[in-house]
Symmetry: D2
């Protein structure tokens, strides 16, 4: 079986203290080390935001991190990502990708809407779905010593599966790991991952993201017929 | 308690044989006769498609029938409807409203995609959810002697509740009654209702639509806080 | 419309400090004060555990609190309750009713399985479903100053609707308000309510339970046909 | 990776015309031919119904066909199967296993309740979930020329995933392929498979069952902690 073709996408290559070569490099790095994927990187700052028709048609799973430049995304490219997801491409949305145009478009809601606080508090991530490919090898709970808080009420449709719930030192809870299907595409949203904390260096987080990429692999069904079906098919 | 404020919306006032004064008049008519609603009518051909800010802010539930002019809808008005739904307005989508921009936008999928055939065949509507406000007083199944076929595969997210399944003489099945929540708004899609058949004159169909309007009444929760929550709330 | 017939059930009339006349009396009391229900009380210590065929057939919604005597429940009575639920009776399961035979039987899982700790810590209850009859009039969150902790992983099937999530001072989270349908019956599980804390005196908790009783009212559908259907029904 | 350990279970070895060596032999046969499983067979007529603790603890996925001897199942063995499922064992329920004690027990409903007719009519199976491991390689729809009808209303909880809908010549529809999770165990119910028709010889049916066995493979999570957690885990 060929390796899964994974595109790791980010706004830009900006370096943060825990990620001196950029977050994209960090995420692509641990995925590459697993030896299970063919990894390509892409950036919003590239032509067509790095997501040309050719790139998307060669992508099995798109891993998407974004924070501050959502509004600069060209709507035509957002629609192109949506078509790819509906056609079977997996989509892993990390951290503030909750506020991305593509997530809102696939959900139909203002996924921007949630509480947040950035004081570096403790986040505890609880796994509530014990029998799921994404939670394999993940402990019952694990702690992120310093995290940005994302809290309820989070405006998303009821997830197809709710896998993780987060507890915050400051008093909030959050649906921090959710799956959705849209068309033939599988979507996983996972909220931990603020840029100023070394969260993507944590083995539990790397495990979850790696598992989710495998889980989101496309299952092609090219034979669906829609449209006019003039005669009885009996 | 004040009566629910219901806006019945259509493309235009075009008359079809079973609906000499237009479909909108027929739907508004049986809803009005129930005595339970304050009914207003609106048309796509009116300024702002009949859905001004004032109309929408005065609407508890929007009943939406459309067939042939989806592409002429102004995207800004579609977005306005979406905001109203997320804020709590109920939305009843009838028949080919499956292909409307507003349904696609709220679902995140190509809700246009389904099989269809217009030869006037028998449709049998089965109720599969015995304990739901929308199915109260509806028989276990009922027959529509002549109907347009809408068949699977229908590209929608998994419904929150699946209430009706349709069987067609020509060999297809369809998820013909589905509920969804998006934000604070309740959505009900019900597929029967082709313009050349007297389907909206059937008591079962009138009952289902009347029930659904009551079910979709807004439940306001004005106190949700989102955004920055700088301090611990302990 | 006749008032809903509600049976409030408990193990016994044991008095606890916040409930000098027993928990059942407290719950029946605030429901009675709403003026919307006909309230009857029943106890496990009565013949047939207070749930004779006559009592159950005269009950629209059963409110069930239990803690320490689950194993003493006669299986035949448990099955009788189950049949009533499948036939349309609503069931409100409070606090340690999670460990009751009837909840396990309706869920198919070991609903006994969860974490717990009884040190009187702070519980914060978050409402995550803004558009539901049970959450009407309930604030976005409210605090229970002293509560027993019930924490994940809780062995339940994925709820039909997840309404409340609880945060605990000691570091856990819990799905504290969940709805399920089984047959024609609606079920609501709500976890707060330890006997040594005055939780059922809190207006938010009274509001949630009162709302849930109304929500769980039966919707009768006596016309369902099952079994052999020898001829084509065309 | 070791092969999945699959136990194929049946009431007895009774031969029917399309299955001269028994249905169990037919199902075990095509699973064995795939080369992907270690297959063991077991029968209700054996001691402990062929499902000793040893057999179940050595079973990854149990494939269960049954029709006429449900009431003869020892409740203690049914409970043993349930415990295995909650602990992670996959369970594939075929045809009239809908009426088995184990299915009712895991669902909490009278799964016996549905319409049925045995006149050898046409059943058409529609796949409505295009992106699922169980539907891989399965056409959009396929026909079973002669089948027993199982029709709605079928008393099951809302499935976690609805994969197949069946259309019957005689006018009914049915949720013929459904998934459920209970505890750590995955459950798939697939209705086609009456003993007097050669349905298990059809490549589409063999593909679906083979896929489902792989999908239902256990994902062990031995580290879940429940029970008293006396100290804060902070």
């Amino acid at each position: 079986m060929d390796k899964l073709k994974v595109t790791v996408w980010n706004e830009n290559e900006k370096a943060f203290e825990p990620y001196p070569r950029g977050i994209n490099h960090a995420i692509a790095g641990f995925l590459r080390e697993s030896g299970e994927f063919n990894i390509r990187e892409a950036l919003q700052t590239q032509p067509e935001h790095g997501l040309t028709e050719e790139v998307l048609s060669g992508t099995d799973v798109l891993v998407y991190w974004a924070h501050s430049h959502h509004h600069e995304m060209d709507d035509a490219i957002v629609e192109r990502i949506q078509r790819s997801v509906l056609g079977g491409m997996g989509l892993i949305l990390l951290h503030s990708a909750h506020a991305s145009k593509i997530f809102s478009r696939l959900m139909g809601t203002d996924t921007l809407r949630l509480r947040w606080r950035d004081v570096g508090e403790l986040e505890r991530v609880w796994c509530i779905e014990p029998s799921h490919p994404i939670t394999q090898g993940v402990p019952e709970y694990f702690d992120i010593p310093h995290s940005e808080m994302y809290g309820e009420n989070f405006q998303i449709p009821a997830p197809d599966e709710l896998l993780f719930l987060s507890w915050y030192e400051g008093g909030e809870v959050f649906r921090s790991g959710c799956t959705f299907k849209r068309g033939c595409g599988k979507i996983f949203f996972f909220s931990p991952g603020h840029e100023t904390f070394p969260i993507y260096h944590m083995p539990e987080v790397q495990r979850i993201i790696t598992n989710s990429v495998k889980w989101a692999a496309p299952i092609y069904r090219p034979d669906i017929v829609t449209g006019n079906t003039p005669d009885f098919i009996l």
